[in-house]
């Protein structure tokens, strides 16, 4: 399997603060890769570096193409879709328009052409599909600021999907969702990935990350401290000490998983299969 995203030696500093050092990470075709780590470890900074929002040193390749020098919008057009931990929606556009902005691809010529000739009518099928996938149809005409936090996050995911990315970078998409909403999201993400869109997932919900990812990287103080399958990472003593904590790790594998599974299999999946 070929690598969709591969970084080597990515480092980021903010003045004296070294937020990332020498991170090598790879996301392959068909993979859902998790990135976890304590608060302030540099996960968001890593996504920012890959998408071009902070200056970074090191090599960043998207399908073997070096993208490290490109501005953010060029990287987005090459197929990097992302969501934000801080949500960052277009606050004065409705949910549907938020998606439409991402779904469209206008060039200077097409943009001006439309303005003169009025060719475009704003119907974007991808955007509608993304709405359906995340169950946001009810909220499509509402303004983002009227939605509860968790749903705003989902709008962010839908917007990233609407842009037809070739790699999805998700920053805490499940924050603000309750455990079975989060499990439901996980299931949908898994389907998206299985349908051919690789993704990198950052989240603190361990039943989500360890439950659905194929491979997990662990950051601490800007450095990778572990990598492996969810099972390997869960049992890594260093990761337990720095991040998982004793009981969470156990619970993630047993109790919590079991209870959320129960919640999901009964009512949740029914809703999604409809």
């Amino acid at each position: 399997m070929s690598a969709v995203l591969s970084t080597s030696g990515v480092s980021v500093s903010f003045g004296a603060v070294r937020a990332l050092s020498e991170v090598d990470l790879e996301v392959r075709e068909g993979q859902l890769v998790g990135l976890i780590g304590p608060n302030g470890a540099g996960k968001t900074t890593f996504i920012d570096a890959v998408t071009g929002f902070v200056p970074a040193r090191g090599d960043i390749r998207l399908r073997d193409r070096d993208i490290s020098g490109l501005p953010p919008h060029r990287r987005a057009r090459l197929g990097l879709g992302r969501t934000w931990q801080t949500i960052e929606l277009f606050d004065d556009l409705s949910v549907r328009e938020n998606l439409a902005v991402a779904a469209q691809r206008s060039t200077l010529a097409s943009g001006l052409g439309e303005v003169f000739l009025g060719l475009w009518h704003g119907e974007e099928q991808v955007a509608e599909d993304a709405l359906d996938l995340l169950d946001l149809r009810h909220d499509a005409d509402r303004m983002p600021s009227e939605l509860p936090q968790g749903r705003r996050k989902l709008v962010g995911v839908a917007r990233a999907l609407a842009a037809r990315p070739r790699l999805l970078l998700l920053d805490e998409p499940a924050a603000g969702l309750d455990s079975h909403e989060s499990a439901e999201l996980g299931e949908r993400l898994r389907r998206v990935v299985d349908a051919g869109l690789p993704a990198l997932l950052v989240d603190h919900d361990m039943s989500l990350v360890l439950g659905i990812c194929d491979y997990v990287y662990v950051l601490d103080f800007g450095k990778l401290i572990a990598r492996g399958t969810p099972e390997e990472v869960r049992n890594d003593p260093e990761v337990r000490a720095a991040y998982l904590g004793g009981s969470t790790a156990d619970m993630a594998s047993t109790a919590d998983m079991a209870s959320t599974d129960m919640l999901v299999t009964m009512p949740g999946s029914e809703a999604t299969e409809r």
């Binding site: 998408t51 929002f53 606050d91 439309e114 303005v115 003169f116 475009w120």
Partner: protein, 647 residues
């Protein structure tokens, strides 16, 4: 030896530098306290100046001793502060910066008109408060009061620095200015903090008013207009630092004074007819401002950058063609049927609406607060005039070249906006407008002398359709309805086109940039191009309005494209709805000299300062009642925007 006059002139400039710095402090206080770009800081100072003059000279019948007059003036300044707080600042808390700026402009206009009505236009020699002696330095005489002013304002600056750095009041103010709802959760009282800041500001402005008297006379425009350099000074300090504002204000004052000396020297560039080149100082301020601000901000806002409150929503136009079919014939008929005064008003309204559409595009859609638009109109207008005078080129080529030139200048003026955002951009474009006006338009080689520069009537294939065309309205008088119809066609085309723009992908990208630059970039939007295209489009529209304006006057002067007029354009469009096409058209109708203004003059005989007094008041009232703008309210009565607690 060469240096000594420079030093002396610089020292003389300490006085006006102190006043600029003082007003700059007021600007900073208003901004820190309530996010208000306070255009009326200078007006507040002027009010106190007049109060002191009236009390001290017995204008109201009682003459007070100086000590008493000063005390009462301070009290008066505080009272004005309270009025300002409850009339302007508090009702508009939580509104976008542009709403607040517009309201302070309303206050500016009303207060200035009131002063002229009460005291007349002429300058009042004020009994000086400060020691009036002179000292001799390097053989030049320098008034002692300059040093006093510089010193007193410095003391006030240090006081503010201390108050904000070491007291909880300063911290609380910063917190409340960033997010009021959150501040209340900490037990802070945004109302109290805001009042305290406004009072502090008006106290400082009272002091400036008193001091101003010592170096100049009080009149209704000197101190109010010092707001322009004061804003520049405050912007050097990011509208945030008292110290930087003080230093910048002093330097501007001193540089001004030194330039006066330079311009009397033989090597100083002249404008061709022997007078020193005008506007060098304004150009200098602009350039330094651009350089200072450009390198301060990033291309795309970074993590944790505080985002300013957004503009009103920009709804999609509904059935614009249908609306056009209804209104255009009516307007065409009125153009022919109305008596000449009303016809003239209608034409003014149509032209104003075109220039307001340029603001709808750049501010309403792209979210860039720009004051430079009218100056761009001027670029086009003067081009039309000079192409005729110098090369004998008339319509349509001169008009086309004028619009193209305006577009180019507009595009250039858009470059700073790639990094400079929000209210800083207001100040930057204001500085640009002032520079273009003073450097370009008042220079009689490129612009016009006070008597004006001739503009030929537009004609195509020998067919004249200018205001002086032979076809007359029903009353048989000029201006010709032909010209009115021409303006109407131009406005209709542009208005429909802007509606189309809003609905196009490009329009949607503009709104995305307006809402969130980072997210727009992450969605593949080329933020830089969208901004630049927006500036170019807006400049072209402004250029068209400038050409029309030039044709309608037949002769133009720098006053036609004056910066104060430019700011008032913003006020008119904002209260009508800066995000919609109907807003621009309504704005045109109520615009100074437009149809409604003429009607008021004709029916009620209200004009000049009485009209200004009323307009200023109405601007504020309209903002308080309909902060999203009248047209937006009338045509798109949608849900109120969600409360600010969530954002």
């Amino acid at each position: 030896m060469v240096l000594s006059p420079i030093v002396a002139f610089a020292l003389i400039g300490l006085g006006s530098g102190g006043l600029i710095a003082g007003i700059g402090l007021g600007v900073v206080l208003s901004y820190r306290g309530g996010g208000v770009i306070n255009l009326s800081a200078g007006v507040l100072a002027m009010l106190s100046g007049f109060c002191y003059w009236a009390l001290d000279t017995g204008y109201f019948g009682i003459t007070f001793p100086t000590g008493w007059a000063i005390t009462l003036t301070i009290v008066f300044a505080l009272v004005v502060g309270v009025v300002f707080e409850f009339g302007v600042v508090r009702p508009l808390r939580g509104q976008p910066p542009l709403a607040k700026l517009t309201a302070t402009l309303g206050f500016f206009v009303s207060a200035q008109a009131a002063v002229v009505l009460g005291f007349g236009e002429e300058a009042r020699p004020q009994p000086p408060i400060l020691p009036s002696g002179i000292v001799s330095i390097l053989g030049y005489t320098v008034p002692v009061s300059s040093f006093w002013i510089a010193g007193i304002v410095l003391a006030v600056t240090l006081l503010f620095v201390g108050a904000f750095r070491w007291s909880r009041f300063g911290l609380g103010t910063r917190a409340a200015a960033e997010n009021e709802a959150y501040a209340t959760l900490y037990g802070l009282s945004p109302n109290g903090l805001s009042l305290a800041n406004t009072l502090l500001m008006s106290l400082a402005m009272g002091l400036v008013g008193l001091l101003g008297a010592s170096i100049a006379e009080v009149d209704s425009s000197t101190l109010p207009l010092m707001i322009v350099p004061a804003l520049a000074a405050a912007t050097f300090g990011s509208l945030n630092s008292f110290t930087v504002t003080y230093i910048a204000g002093m330097l501007i004052g001193m540089a001004e004074s030194v330039l006066i000396f330079f311009s009397s020297q033989s090597w100083f560039p002249t404008n061709g007819i022997g007078n020193p080149l005008p506007g060098v100082q304004e150009l200098m301020i602009f350039v330094v401002l651009v350089v200072a601000m450009f390198f301060r901000a990033g291309k795309i806002p970074g993590r944790g950058d505080i985002v300013e409150r957004r503009l009103p929503p920009a709804p999609r136009p509904r059935a614009p063609l249908k609306a056009a079919m209804k209104w255009v014939p009516l307007c065409a008929f009125l153009m022919w049927a109305l008596p000449f005064g009303f016809r003239e008003g209608l034409i003014t309204s149509l032209i104003a609406a075109v220039s307001l559409l340029s603001l709808v595009v750049i501010t309403g859609f792209v979210g860039q607060l720009s004051i430079v638009q009218l100056a761009l109109a001027g670029v086009a207008g003067f081009t039309v005039s000079h192409f005729f005078i110098n090369f004998g080129i008339g319509f349509p080529w001169a008009a086309i070249i004028g619009v193209l030139l305006a577009t180019v200048v507009g595009l250039i003026s858009g470059f700073p906006a790639l990094r400079v955002r929000g209210v800083s951009l207001v100040v930057l474009t204001l500085a640009a407008a002032v520079a273009i006006e003073n450097f370009g338009f008042t220079n009689s080689t490129w612009g016009a002398s006070v008597t004006g520069s001739l503009v030929p009537a537009p004609s195509l294939f020998g067919f004249n359709f200018g205001p002086n065309a032979s076809f007359h309205g029903i009353d048989g008088a000029e201006p010709s309805p032909l010209f009115g119809w021409f303006c109407l066609v131009v406005l209709t085309v542009i208005a429909l086109w802007v509606c189309n723009l809003r609905r196009s992908r490009l329009g949607q990208e503009m709104l995305a940039v307006r809402a969130n630059e980072r997210a727009a970039a992450a969605s593949g939007v080329n933020v830089r191009n969208v901004k630049l295209i927006g500036f170019a489009i807006a400049a072209a529209i402004a250029g068209v309005s400038g050409v029309l304006l030039a044709y309608s006057y037949g002769s133009i002067t720098a006053d036609s494209y004056d910066t104060l007029v430019a700011i008032s354009l913003i006020a008119f469009i904002y209260i009508c709805g800066i995000t919609t096409v109907p807003g621009a058209i309504q704005g045109g109708l109520i615009y100074t000299g437009g149809l409604l203004a003429y009607a008021i003059l004709d029916w009620f005989g209200l004009q000049g300062n009485w009209l200004n007094l009323l307009v200023g008041f109405l601007v504020i009232a309209s903002l308080v009642l309909r902060p999203e703008g009248g047209a937006t309210y009338l045509f798109y009565r949608s849900k109120r925007p969600a409360s600010e607690v969530t954002s």
